[in-house]
Each structure stands twice: as C-alpha cells, then as structure tokens.
C-alpha cells in the first residue's frame, strides 16, 4: 500500500514548482500575442522556454533526491479560485516522485524536440506559431501532471487536447490534416466527457476535487461508486491515450508535423491516460472490477495496435500503431494494480525515449525523401543517412525488447507482472503480452528492413523531383542521438538495484507478484518469441525484395491496413446509427421538442412584444406604472405584515 497522502508545504526550492509551468506559458503568450514581430527569434524563444523549464525540473528533481523517501511530496497552494462558502476550488500544484518523472520526461523530451523542430520546420512560414503551440502544449501538459486536484488536472487535460488539435491541423491547408484534427478532437470529446463526469462524481462523493480528500476518503466510499468513478476515469484515459474503443484518431493524427507526432502522439500526451490511472491508484486499488476492465482494454489495444502496425506502409502510421500497442502494455500493467503501476510508468518513460527517437528518425528520413511517407518507396537508406540509421536502429532494438536496451527491462517486467497475476486471467494476459512482443518484433523489423535495407525503390514526387537522400542537419541529429542514448541506457539504469521501484513505491505502492514458473524460463521464452518475430520478418522482407506496389494481401492484411475496420466499425455502428438516430431525433425534434421550444420562444417573443407595448415612450404612462407599482408595493408590505 502507498503511504497515506499527506504532502508537505512547498517552500524553499520547491516554491519553484509554479515556475516550471509559467515559463512555457509565458513563451506561448509572447509568441502568440507578439505576432509577426517575434518571427525572427520565435523558435529560439520557444526552445529557451522549454530548456528553462527542463532546468527547473532538474533542480526540483535533485532537491527531491536530497530528501528522505517519506519527504518527497509537496503541495504548493497558488490561489483559491472560487472562495465562496459551501464550495471551493483551488489552484495548486503537487510535486512528488510520480509527477517529477513526468516533468522531466515532458520537458526533457520536449526540449529535444523543440531543438529538432528548429531544423525540421526551418522552411515553414508559420514556424513561430508552431513553437507557440508547442510551448502551449508543454504548459498544459505540465498543469495536467502537476495539478493537486482533479479540476485543475481537467483544465490541463483540455489544454493538451486543444494543443493537440491545433498541431495536428497545423497544415490546415491540407484537407486531410484539417479532417484529422477534427476527428482527434471529436473522439477525444467522448473521453473528456467521461473524465468530467468522473470529476463531478468525485466531488459529490468526497466533497472535494483535491487529491488529499479524495484519496484519503476512498475507504469510506461505496465500492459501486468507486467502480463507477474508475470506469469513467478509464473512459477519459481511453480517449487521450488512444485505447480501444477510442483508438481510431491516433493513426490520422500523424497528419501533423513529425515532431508533433514524436512529442505529443508518442512520448507524452498519449500517455496522460496512464498517468491518470496510476495517479488515481487509491481509487483503482479499491475497485477491482474497474481494474479488470482496465486490463482488458489494455490487452485488446495491445493486440489491435500491433496488428495494425504490421500492415501499414506509411512509416508514421506503422509507428502510430506501435504507439497504441505499447500504451496498451502500460494500461494493462496499470490495471494489474500494485504489481504493475511502477512498471507501467517505467515502460512509459523508456517508451518516451525510444518512440520519440523512432519518430524523429522517421522525420529525418522523410526530410531526405521529399516528405514521402511510404516505406515501399524507401530502401537502402543506411548508406545515405548513417546517423539516422544508427539512432533509429538503437530505438528499434529497444522497442523489440532486445537486452540490454531500455525496452527489454521495462517490457519484460510487464510480461512478468501479467503472469504473476495468477489464475486464468494471469495466463491469458501473460500470453497476450508475449504474443504482443512477437508481433512487435515482427512489425518493427519490417519497418527497419523496408527503410534502411534492401534495394533502392525511390520514386520521384508529383512534381518530378527525384529524391536525394542526405543526412539531416546537426540540429536534428543531436536530439536523435541524445534520445538514442536514453533508448540504450535508461532501462538498465532504472533497474539497477530496483532504483525505479524504490523511487515510486511511496506514491503507487508496490508488491512483487509470484510467477507460476521460474523467472529464467520466462526470460528465455520472451527472447525466443522476439527472435521468432525478427526471423519471420526477415524471411519476408529481408531475404526477398520488397515490391514497390503493395500486394493485394490476405484478408487479415487488408483488414489491418484498414485499422482492423475501426473506422468502418465506427461508421457503421456509431455514425450510421448516429445518423439514423439523428434523423429520428430530428423528426421528434421537429414535431415535439421544436413545438415546445418554438412555443416557448414564440411565447417569450410574443410576451416580449406585448410587454414592449407598455414601453410607450409617453412619460405619463411611465409615471402611471410607477404609481401602480408603488401602490402594489405598499399593499404587499402591509399585507405580508399581516
């Protein structure tokens, strides 16, 4: 069990918490309000704000590190938003072992991606606005993870949604980008409604939005209520983290500029759902049924994403499928409870490194290939882009779980935790995670081989420009290299003497599960499964030449190419029935509701018109009505006196 929630007051160094958010917020404000005047230095200011925030985050981290384990939780009260008796909503921040991890991940990876974007967006006229939105995203995301109550968390949640919308649709002149932004927004609304209902339900149950009263009040609440809150939180998490059944927007979100895909739709924002679940561990611990649903959602998405990732020829969409699948791992782990919380977060961090690195690598490849995203038009790029190849390759080794790279440590622990669950569900979840590892190895090897190996399959773009692949400028290479270092070393570092587990345990609690068989056996099986996936992919894409035109493919491939009919399903089930329902509703609306509404409106309008006639403009009639009013007033007071 985690120790009870009793943060200390944030003084001294910890008074800096608010500044971590204020800096990128100020950056966004200056760049948005300053307009064209800031064009010249906008990108530099954006980077500076992000790096500054990271430096503050690092200072806070070391300050926390210097404290004993039970003194690493701080609350900073900023102000009381609505201080009326009977209702209070505060704005305040909470820093502890969990939130600092997110602060470092968001600002650290965020800074690297800011720097990368200086090169990537160099020729874009709207570069300043891009950096403004990125800073806005950072600020909102930091509010989300630093909030000390669910209301403020919700504000940050909506803020990242807005930033995501703006950035997916950044190239809004492309209809596909505009549509994708709208789709992401609408699908996210479904999740947001879930979260907002959860927050309201919390308020009526615990009488507060703040973490303290909520977490400490769990023991006094009914299990049914807690399950409802848990499921609503899960709905929110599904929207933001692209989990089944709200996963459909993530693939389309790749229409945004690649740095956005790396930062928001791989490393940080999409993991907000995992944060939400782990942060609310007190609620989920007391609601086992909700947790079961969480694991199911995680397992389904983990398979769904992996299968979609196998069939995509668009490099970014393949990686998006992979993101979905990896977050499925995290959600599954979070659903396992105290056995899994820590590993969900650990995988989240290592995934943040290698997936951001993979996306930046993909961006670098696109940069060299006339922004073509089709992997069937790549091939043999390792000779032309050595740095991209090496950094992408290290990320690849990390994600498939090859020891001793990062992903090996974190994913292996999740597989272990799943089996440790025990019983039938433990076997089912465990086998799912193993199967996921197999498919991950397959589709990532496929991406690697199609992009960097084999023969050139390059084609000219629509204007007839032949691609001339070249290594990207150093502003893009350096961030990729730094992320590659993270992909290599983070996992081992975190696992050294269980450093990560010990760090997070006071917040999330931790218990070691018991494996139904030996640890070594599981390791061997896992590695064998991964090797199998790699080998199968090599037999298909390495040994024989990849056709430049996609073959028709079997039924399964066709299905995966179409996101396992996720959109078709949505269209059929939600859109068609929605349309049908709308038609029925419109019918009733016209006949019934409109009748009533129009009746009321007409009534009001009519009474407005009639009342207006009293406003004759004649002073004598005004005086008469005043006289009448005075008479009534006297009569009323004397009557009430009785």
């Amino acid at each position: 069990m985690p120790s009870s929630y009793a943060p200390l007051a944030a003084t001294g160094t910890f008074a800096l918490i608010a500044w971590v958010i204020a800096i990128p917020l100020a950056g966004a404000a200056i760049l948005l309000l300053g307009g064209r005047r800031t064009n010249r230095f906008g990108h530099l200011l954006g980077c500076a704000a992000s790096v500054g925030s990271f430096v503050l985050g690092a200072v806070l981290f070391f300050a926390l590190l210097g404290k004993p384990g039970d003194q690493r939780s701080y609350d900073q009260h900023v102000y009381t938003w609505v201080p009326v008796p009977g209702f209070s909503a505060d704005a305040g921040f909470h820093l502890d072992q969990l939130s600092i991890i997110f602060v470092l991940l968001i600002t650290g990876v965020g800074s690297l991606i800011h720097i990368y974007s200086v090169g990537y967006m160099a020729h874009d006229e709207q570069r300043r606005k891009f950096f403004a939105y990125l800073n806005l995203f950072l600020a909102a995301m930091l509010v989300l993870v630093l909030a000390d109550n669910y209301l403020l968390l919700y504000a940050g949640w909506e803020g990242v949604g807005l930033a995501s919308y703006l950035l997916i649709g950044f190239w809004q002149h492309k209809p596909s980008a505009a549509v994708a932004a709208k789709k992401a927004f609408i699908v996210n609304r479904v999740g947001d409604v879930g979260l907002s209902l959860a927050v309201m339900l919390m308020y009526t149950t615990f009488g507060s939005f703040a973490f303290g009263p909520v977490f400490n009040g769990v023991s006094g609440a009914k299990t049914g209520t807690l399950t409802a809150i848990g499921l609503l939180l899960l709905l929110g998490a599904c929207g933001k983290s692209a989990q089944f059944p709200l996963q459909s927007w993530l693939g389309d979100a790749m229409e945004g500029p690649t740095p956005v895909s790396a930062l928001i739709h791989a490393a940080t924002m999409v993991t907000a759902g995992v944060y939400l679940i782990v942060r609310s561990n007190a609620i989920f611990d007391a609601a086992p049924n909700a947790r079961l649903v969480v694991t199911i959602v995680g397992a389904v998405t983990l398979m769904l994403g992996a299968i979609i990732g196998c069939a995509k020829d668009d490099i970014k969409k393949a990686l998006a499928g992979s993101t979905m699948s990896q977050i499925g791992y995290m959600v599954l782990a979070a659903g396992l409870g105290p056995i899994g919380y820590v590993f969900a977060i650990m995988h989240l961090v290592t995934h943040g490194f290698f997936k951001a690195g993979l996306f930046l690598g993909a961006g670098s490849v696109m940069h060299g290939m006339n922004d073509d995203v089709n992997m069937r038009h790549y091939g043999a790029l390792r000779k032309f882009m050595p740095w991209t190849y090496v950094t992408f390759g290290l990320g690849y080794l990390a994600i498939i779980g090859c020891p001793p790279f990062s992903g090996y440590w974190s994913k292996d622990k999740i597989i272990e935790a799943a089996f440790s669950q025990g019983g039938t569900s433990g076997w089912i979840l465990g086998c799912t995670t193993l199967l996921g590892a197999l498919i991950t190895a397959f589709y990532m090897t496929r991406v690697m081989l199609m992009t960097f190996f084999g023969q050139k399959r390059w084609v000219a773009d629509e204007q007839g420009h032949e691609p001339h692949p070249h290594e990207s400028p150093w502003v893009m290479v350096v961030p990729m290299a730094v992320l590659a270092v993270g992909s290599v070393a983070a996992g081992a570092l975190f696992s050294y003497h269980s450093a990560f587990v010990n760090w997070l345990e006071p917040v999330t609690g931790h218990s070691d599960g018991r494996l139904p068989f030996s640890d070594a056996l599981l390791q061997v099986i896992t590695l064998a499964v991964v090797a199998l996936g790699v080998a199968y992919a090599w037999s298909l894409y390495g040994r024989q030449e990849v056709p430049a035109q996609a073959p028709a493919g079997a039924f399964a491939t066709r299905a995966a190419r179409r996101d396992l009919y996720g959109d078709a399903f949505n269209e059929l089930v939600f859109m068609r029935t929605g349309q049908y329902l709308t038609r029925v509703l419109v019918y009733f609306d016209l006949k019934g509701v409109d009748g009533a509404v129009n009746g009321i409106a007409a009534g009001l309008g009519g009474s407005s018109g009639r009342l207006r006639r009293l406003q004759t403009g004649f002073v004598r009639s005004y005086a008469l009505s005043m006289f009448g009013g005075a008479t009534l007033l006297i009569a009323a007071l004397l009557l009430v006196r009785g």
């Binding site: 938003w81 609505v82 207006r612 005043m626």
Partner: protein, 520 residues
C-alpha cells in the same frame, strides 16, 4: 445672563478627515465651476479633464488612507464610514476614473467630444451651427459630473434618511442635465433628459414622503434609531411599512428594478453613450449601496426582514423576467444593454434579499465587476459610427469582427461575461450571489435567476454571432480610432473582466472583509 448662557450655540464637531473623499470630490467640482468662469475657452477642456481626474485620484487616495477605519459614524450620526462604505466609495471612484477617460474622448468624432457645442442652442438652429463651427464645447459637464460623483460617494454612506435624500438629489440633478447634452440626435437626448428628470422627481417625492412616514414612526430619520424602534416596537407598524414601501420606490427607481424601470431604456438610448456607460455603472453601485444600508441597518431586525424579504424577492423575480424578456426583441444595442442592466439589477436584488454577510459580500463583488464590464461595453459602442453619430442598430454591426477585430473581440469578452461564461468575472459574481441565496434558503429565486441567465445568453450571444458570423455590410459603419485614454479604459476593463474570472480571490477577499464591517 443665565438665559443667554443656556442658548449658547456649541459648534457640532465634524470629522473632516473621515469625510475627505466626498469633500475632495465636491471641492474639485467647485473649482471646476471657477475654471468655467475664469479660464479662457481654449484651455478649459484640458484644465477641466485634468482637474476631474486628479480630484478622483485624490479622493481615491483618501479612501485608501481611511481603509483601516473600523466602524465609525460621523457628522452627528448622519454619515457612516465603514468597510462597506469605503469599498463602495473606492469602487465608484475607480469606475468614475475609467468612465471619465471615455467621456473626455475627442478623437473618435472629428476632434469633438460626445456633447453638444452649446446646451442652450435649439437643435437645428443657426446658433447650433455657429457654435459647432467655432468649436465650442460644453466643458461644464466635468464639474457637473464631479458633483454627481460626490453625491454617489455620499449616497451609500448616508446613515440618515435626510442626508440620503440630499445625496440622491446631488447625484441625480447633474445627470439629468448631462443626459440631454448629446452632440448627435439632440432631440432624442433632450427627450430622454426630460423624461429622466420628470420621473426622477416623481420618485424622489416618493422617497421624501417615505422618509417622512418613517420619521412619524420612529421620531427620527436616523437609521440606527429606526432600527431600535423596529427591534422594540411601541406603536403600530403601518407607518413603518408604508414608509418603507415609498422609500423603496425611490431606491428601486435608481437601481432600475421593475416596475420602476421604464425610464432606463429611453434614457440609456438617448443619453450620450459615454455618460450612459458611466451612469449604468456608477449610479447602480451607489443606489445598491444605499439600498443595502436602509435594509440591513435600518430594517435589518428579523421581524422587519420577514416582512420586506418576500416582497423584495417578488420584485427581484419581476425585474429579472422583465429585463430578460424585453431584451429579447431589442434591435438597438444601447436599449439591449439597458434591459440587460435591468436584468442585472434583478440578480443583485437576490443578493440584497438574502441579507447574510455572505450575500452582501457577493453583491459588493458583483457591483465593480459588472460596472467595469458595462463601461467597457458602452465604450466599444462609441467606436462604431455612422454619419449621424453612433451606429447603434444591431443590423449595422454585421461582420464587425472581420472589419474591426479588436473592438469586436473586446465587446465579445464583455458580452460573454454578461452571459456568465466561466473564467469571466461576472460568472464568479453570479456564482457567489446564487450560492449565497442558496445558503440563505431561497432556491426558487436561484432557479428563476438561472433560467433568466439562459434567456439572457441568447441575446448576448446574438450580438457575438452577428459580429463574427455574418458578412460585413458594403456600406457598413466606420470604426473610429480612439485615443490612448479610451484604449487604456478598454484594456483595463477587459483585463479586469478576465483576470477577476481567473483569480477572483483578491477582490472576493476584500469584499468579504468589507461586507463584514457595517455600522449597525
């Protein structure tokens, strides 16, 4: 000798220090009259504006200096200087400062201000044309309005009914006059002024008659003495409640509550727009201050509250319904804002009838935030101009968002605030009032108020829709470029409206502390 000694007149002590905000305002006004008489015409405008602004700032300084005062009743029991008074005086002075910045504007209309060149000239006459051509200006409005400001400062502080009556007249008379001095559409303006004057005089008569009845009841016009008699009645209460009702007519007329509201749209429409904004904000603050004092101090005893509370609640409901429903069909933006002012008076009455300190604090918070927003809204109206003055018909505002994004966006901020959208100051104000009313056990009132707000959202948002989602008219109105003063006023108003929605606690705390300090 002994007879003489008995009639020796002792000078009553007057605490000039405590009265200094009002004295400074009246002093600035008197100086302004001297300036009018002595200074050459060419310099008057500059001197008068400077004098008025300095006077307001000095009076505000005096209020700040008095801020630590507890409860003190001065000038022989006729003026109460307490937290509530000082909060309201400070608010009135801030509003007056912002309002004067807009009133003094000369850049929006070909280097002329919003007032007739010479008030005495007949509209359309040769004299009017001559004085206009010579560039004369009615700079008398500045001392007049300063007198009005002085009256407003005294009105919520008055602790006896005669002082209150004097304050009422001092604040009203200059306003009657200034309302009739619009440069454009002068006949409409003069008609408005005459109506305002006639009805104002009518309501003042009610007020005076009510004061006389209360004197008959308690043997004194002092609110504290009346309160004692209410607590320990030694006579029938007919005089008390008849007197209260008539007093109420006078006060409800000033706040614009139904059915004493009918002057509001005509006067708001006819008066020069900067004056309308000033009046809508400052008069309302002063009048609600006086109403709170009469009801909470003079008739705050539980037996009296039980009588007037339901009646005033009924007035609140009627006011909200009349304001909300009539605003629906208005096509003129100034009239629409007038009905919105009536609606807001209804919300404020809910706060007044709740009688708790919490409700009083909510009213104190609501008054300044509503005040700056309404001044800002009317200031935007002064910028949208046709050949014959301001283009106030809503249809002329089509597509304004495309042609003049900044003024349109500012107005949108104010309108969204009136509509009670979260993260605006008025949302917090409404929330505070409704919460106080719920705690005071008046859920029905809150339900009506929320329904009225929903109704109101329609006509506020309609303006936003017209501005941003219609195509601009080919011969649409021109957008004046205001001076830095008006820009400042608008910026302050918009900033306050948003900032106090995001961080209202600063002002809410002040209102809470001030509302607790009331001279009973």
């Amino acid at each position: 000798m002994s007879a003489l000694a008995a009639t020796t007149f002792t000078v009553p002590p007057v605490e000039f220090g405590k009265l200094s905000p009002m004295l400074i305002a009246f002093g600035a006004a008197t100086l302004g009259i001297l300036v009018e008489a002595l200074a050459p015409r060419a310099h008057r405008y500059r001197i008068q504006v400077g004098l008025a602004l300095v006077g307001i700032a000095a009076a505000f300084g005096a209020v700040l200096a008095l801020a630590k005062t507890g409860v003190e009743v001065v000038a022989q029991g006729s003026v109460a200087i307490d937290g509530t008074t000082l909060f309201l005086q400070g608010t009135i002075l801030v509003i007056a400062f912002v309002g004067f910045l807009v009133i003094a504007e000369r850049k929006t209309d070909q280097n002329q201000d919003a007032f007739a060149a010479q008030g005495a000239s007949v509209p359309g006459s040769q004299a009017e044309r001559d004085t206009t051509r010579k560039g004369w200006q009615t700079t008398e409005i500045y001392p007049l309005l300063m007198f009005s400001v002085g009256g407003m400062l005294l009105f919520p502080a008055a602790n006896d009914l005669l002082t209150m009556f004097v304050a009422l007249e001092v604040l009203s008379l200059p306003l009657y006059l200034v309302c009739g001095l619009a440069r454009h559409r002068r006949l409409l303006s003069q008609e408005a002024a005459l109506k305002y004057f006639l009805l104002g005089a009518f309501s003042s008569a009610f007020f005076l008659y009510g004061a006389a009845m209360l004197y008959g009841y308690a043997g004194s016009v002092n609110l504290a003495v009346i309160a004692q008699h209410v607590a320990h009645p030694d006579a029938g209460s007919t005089l008390l409640y008849a007197g209260l009702a008539m007093l109420g007519v006078g006060l409800l007329f000033k706040v614009g509550a139904a059915p004493f509201h009918m002057w509001t749209p005509d006067v708001y429409q006819g008066a020069p727009t900067p004056v309308t904004g000033f009046m809508a904000a400052a008069t309302k603050i002063a009048a609600f201050g006086a109403l709170v004092r009469v009801l909470d101090v003079g008739l705050g005893g539980s037996s009296a509250v039980a009588v007037w509370r339901p009646v005033l609640q009924a007035v609140a409901v009627i006011t909200m319904l009349v304001g909300g429903i009539l605003a629906l069909t208005q096509r003129d933006i100034k009239r629409m804002l007038a009905y919105s002012a009536i609606l807001n008076a209804g919300y404020l009455l809910i706060g007044v009838t709740s009688t708790t300190a919490q409700a009083r604090a909510a009213v104190l918070f609501y008054l300044p935030v509503y005040g700056v927003a309404i001044i800002g809204a009317f200031a935007v109206v002064t910028l949208v101009r046709d050949a014959g003055g301001e283009a106030t018909d809503l249809s002329r505002w089509a597509g304004l968002g495309k042609r003049a994004p900044i003024p349109a966006a500012l107005l949108a901020v104010f309108l969204l605030a009136f509509a009670g959208i979260p993260f605006t100051s008025i949302f917090i104000g409404k929330f505070a009032i409704f919460q106080a009313a719920l705690n005071a056990g008046a859920p029905a009132l809150v339900i009506v108020a929320v329904l009225a707000s929903a109704l109101a959202a329609f006509f506020y948002l309609r303006v936003v829709v017209v501005m941003f989602f219609s195509d601009p008219l080919p011969d649409g109105p021109t957008i004046a470029h205001p001076s830095i003063a008006v820009k400042t006023a608008l910026a302050v108003a918009a900033f306050a409206t948003v900032a106090l929605g995001i961080a209202p606690s600063l002002l809410l705390h002040l209102a809470n502390n001030s509302a607790g300090i009331l001279a009973k």
